[in-house]
Symmetry: C2
Subunit: 235 residues, 2 copies
């Protein structure tokens, strides 16, 4: 009784005239347990040995039971319909495929959020250079995602640009986040054309070296650089 059935779900048949009831109740053949063989059902008798003395209360119990079960089905199918409306391209999928697609979208959104949080937050006060080949297109192009985390300074972006412009990489996107005097730069670059693994490794290590040189340069000059020129110093 907690959730809402979301309408009739298109079930417009009358009560108990649907398929699956009458035949299931009148056929006196059952499939034997371990064998799967069709055998005669044992003549089921009532509790007192009489068939047909089911009274009105039992009938009412059956009725309410089947109605409750129908409501439960409506509830589940309503939620399924909601999910189907939320995920594009699932209009013609059956229940299992819809649920599989829901799982995929959930994984995708979760990894997406993970990726964004990984790319946007600043790790805990530790200098870091990370370079990874993020995605390999089937066209031979590949994407390099590099990040540099260090103490903040105003010309770090210019340094990064200068260090990377010698490479034949097209900068797709740059994200810079600062927090408490630290900065994390995420640079997404793309190399178009067919490159083999050796070339990819060459690019990757070149990017890594370029960013590490920035880090080294900064760390060697941090002692005598004026640190008071930033407005967002750590406190």
């Amino acid at each position: 009784m907690s959730s809402i059935p979301l309408g009739d779900c298109g079930v417009s048949r009358g009560f108990c005239d649907g398929p699956g009831f009458g035949a299931g109740a009148s056929v006196t053949l059952v499939l034997d347990g371990e064998r799967g063989e069709l055998v005669r059902a044992p003549a089921r008798v009532g509790k007192k040995g009489k068939v047909g003395v089911l009274d009105a209360s039992v009938a009412m119990a059956l009725k309410t039971h089947s109605e409750a079960e129908r409501r439960r089905r409506q509830r589940i199918n309503g939620h399924l319909a909601t999910l189907r409306s939320m995920i594009p391209g699932t209009e013609k999928l059956d229940k299992a495929a819809l649920l599989a697609e829901v799982i995929n979208h959930l994984k995708g959104l979760k990894s997406n959020a993970m990726e964004i949080s990984k790319g946007c937050t600043i790790p805990s006060d530790v200098d870091e250079v990370r370079v990874e080949v993020e995605d390999v297109m089937n066209s031979g192009s590949f994407i390099i995602k590099a990040s540099l985390c260090c103490e903040d300074r105003p010309d770090i972006l210019a340094d990064i640009r200068q260090a990377l412009q010698t490479l034949q990489l097209k900068t797709i996107r740059v994200d810079i986040s600062t927090l408490g005097g630290r900065v994390k730069n995420v640079i997404v670059m793309k190399c178009e054309g067919n490159a083999n693994d050796i070339e990819k490794h060459l690019y990757t290590s070149s990017v890594h070296r370029a960013l590490e040189s920035i880090l080294d340069r900064f760390n060697s000059s941090v002692d005598f650089l004026p640190r008071t020129s930033f407005s967002n110093k750590r406190q």
Copy 2:
């Protein structure tokens, strides 16, 4: 045949000896359609008027049918179990509540992604200054979230810092995203202490003016500034 049934799902009973079969097949009473009354089922006869001439092929059809149906249920329930394992706190929920929770998580992740993309992506080639009081703490402090979107240039961050350092605002966080020669700067500032609405509006408009002045300065000087010094120009 595309997805995997994910094992037995704990169903260890033999075939057709489970609940819900025997009694349903031997009781010869059905509930009448529109009324919900319990009536005698019409004596179902075979196709040729004889009961009990169901041959082995029909039995096999029934067997394969129920087995296929069981496989279908296992597939669906397997996906449901996967969803349950993906979302914490759904271990003791029933199917409908689980699906409702899946819907909630999907909505949450989607709005989260929307929020992040709102703060990180660059709008479509239109200069923009937005300032909003993001969150008002119950301590009287408030947070100003300002964003400036314009053509990219190397010293824009320094300009923003200079323009905002005259205000008594502590910079909590700065996010900068560039894409195709455009840049979006998101600055989150905090003003501690008790401020009334007039002061908040004063701060807000000051930030707005500061950022717009940067935009104006850039737009008036864009004609004679060298634009070729960026590595990530739009192409």
